[in-house]
């Protein structure tokens, strides 16, 4: 499937630093694409360049193959859902959703139809005449989504879509967002610093760090075959032993040395945390590195101070990391 969005060597320089440095990526039509990274990595700036709120210092932003660098936000078939939703407080939910349609001088009956449809889509029918301050956080997000989706953009951009919500709402909203995207079939590009969010929502992820693109690929690709140390440790946890990285779920612990060709180190148990269905053990190797592992049997009973063997299979090592 062709790429609806492509960034070719895009950079954004400010006076003091380069917020985005030579980033190239492409987003397939209909994908749920995540820009993931710690704060300050340039992901939000990249999003804003796609939306048109920042202009790239160099490089090309292409939408359906056409260069859009010079287009103002209102000229782009791209719509943004802001982190704080940015609903117009002086308009009702309906007024907000109609805003873009009015700008495009849509006929009244078509407008009413499309507005009705989109309110159904986000499950907010009946609340059209409420003002933003009369809606809950989750409802406001749905109005923001409706406001953007009703315009049938080629691309929907979401800035930290879950960060403003209550933590206990997040899982539910995550599932709803995923279902919504499948339903409308529009390409979603979102920005987040939460790796769990990125892993569960995205079809593809681009990990950014200090303005540069570290790696782009499917969640599985990034997790199982990270190309850089940063990606390896940002997505999930890694045990670093003598420069080699191994995931905790591939790291095993035992009191006797296994014989099956596994690589091993010796260590001392530092602490053991009971987590209900499993035991989380941190052990310190002879060279001072901390290794974390999980044991499914909570009654295995590893105690601090015990001498243990930590081992893993060579094929589970994360190799070729820059």
């Amino acid at each position: 499937m062709p790429a609806v969005l492509e960034l070719r060597r895009v950079s954004k320089h400010f006076a003091s630093h380069a917020a985005v440095d030579d980033v190239s990526l492409s987003v397939e039509t209909g994908a749920f694409y995540g820009l993931l990274g710690p704060s300050g990595c340039g992901k939000t700036t990249t999003l804003r360049m796609i939306a048109g709120f920042e202009s790239a210092t160099s490089g090309d932003v292409l939408l359906d193959g056409a260069r859009i660098n010079h287009l103002r936000p209102y000229q782009r078939p791209v719509s943004t859902v802001f982190q704080n939703y940015a609903l117009f407080p002086h308009l009702t939910a309906r007024g907000n959703v109609e805003f873009g349609l009015r700008q495009a001088r849509t006929a009244a009956d078509e407008m009413a139809r499309r507005v009705g449809e989109v309110f159904d889509l986000v499950h907010l029918s009946g609340k059209e005449d409420r003002y933003p301050h009369q809606l809950s956080g989750g409802e406001r997000q749905r109005v923001a989504l409706a406001r953007s989706l009703v315009l049938r953009p080629k691309l929907l951009l979401l800035d930290e879509p879950l960060s403003a919500l209550d933590p206990n709402l997040r899982k539910q909203v995550r599932a709803e967002l995923k279902a919504l995207q499948r339903q409308v079939g529009i390409t979603f590009v979102f920005v987040t610093h939460d790796q769990e969010e990125a892993l569960s929502l995205s079809d593809e992820i681009a990990v950014m760090h200090a303005g540069r693109l570290e790696q782009a690929g499917s969640p599985e690709d990034l997790y199982v075959r990270p190309c850089t140390r940063f990606v390896a440790s940002f997505l999930g946890e890694v045990n670093w032993v003598h420069g080699i990285g191994v995931r905790p779920e591939s790291t095993h612990i035992s009191r006797v040395a296994p014989g099956n060709g596994a690589r091993l180190v010796r260590g001392t148990v530092e602490r053991s945390t009971f987590l209900g269905n499993r035991l989380h053990i941190a052990a310190r190797t002879e060279s001072g590195e901390t290794v974390v592992t999980e044991v499914a049997r909570p009654d295995a009973g590893f105690h601090p101070g015990e001498q243990v063997y930590l081992w893993w299979q060579p094929q589970d090592e994360l190799a070729g990391l820059r």
Binding site: F53, R72, P73, F82, N84, F88, G100, A104
Partner: protein, 253 residues
Amino acid sequence: MSRLLGLYAAAAFAFLHLPLLVLAVFSFNESRFTVWTGFSLKWFDAAFRDAQLAEATWNSLLIAFAATLASTIIGTLCAYGLWKRSSRAVSGTLYLSLVTPEIVMGVSLLAFFQWLFRYVGMHLGMHTVIAAHTMFCIAYVVIVVSARLRSMDASLEEAALDLGATEWTTFRRVTLPLIFPAVAAAGLLAFTISFDDYVITSMVAGVDSETLPMVVYALARRGANPVVNAISTLIVVGLGVLIAVSSKLQETR
């Protein structure tokens, strides 16, 4: 100590309010002297019947309306432009206009108009007063509107742009409605300042453009005059109401 402070505060408030209250009370005094002889509305009656006062009041209202309209529009646009990106030159000049003594502004405008009129056949009149008033009200409007803009969420404008509105449409349909109470408050403030002005007006007014403050000044200079008391009370109450409404509008919800 807090009792002492409370007593002091009462005295200070008395100091601040008594002069005007005394003035108001004596405007209802039957006698023209500062001895209370009875309640009377005759001074108000005399004020309303006075033709010169009527014309002066009419001039003041006209000037204030025109200057308010002009300064509110110019000032609001200016505040918005400064909010988008600050300009030290413009802000600095506005600050300077606030700090310039009125007499200095008055004489400089007089000099400017007289110089201008050498080339353009005009005289001092209502239009020069309106121009002068517009000028000194702008800074106040900018202050009030800027304060409201500062507390506005910038992402609302971005959202509007994102949804297809141009910059001008965004200002019209999103920003302006949201800052409107502050714009109205600024307008009321400008009206009050314009209506009350004496110093600058006296320098740039023509023979046909006498304002209420000018009449009051002339009467006050001549000596005790109970009609002035009555006019003063009306002015204070009228302007006081406008200011009260203005500050209510500036409260953030």
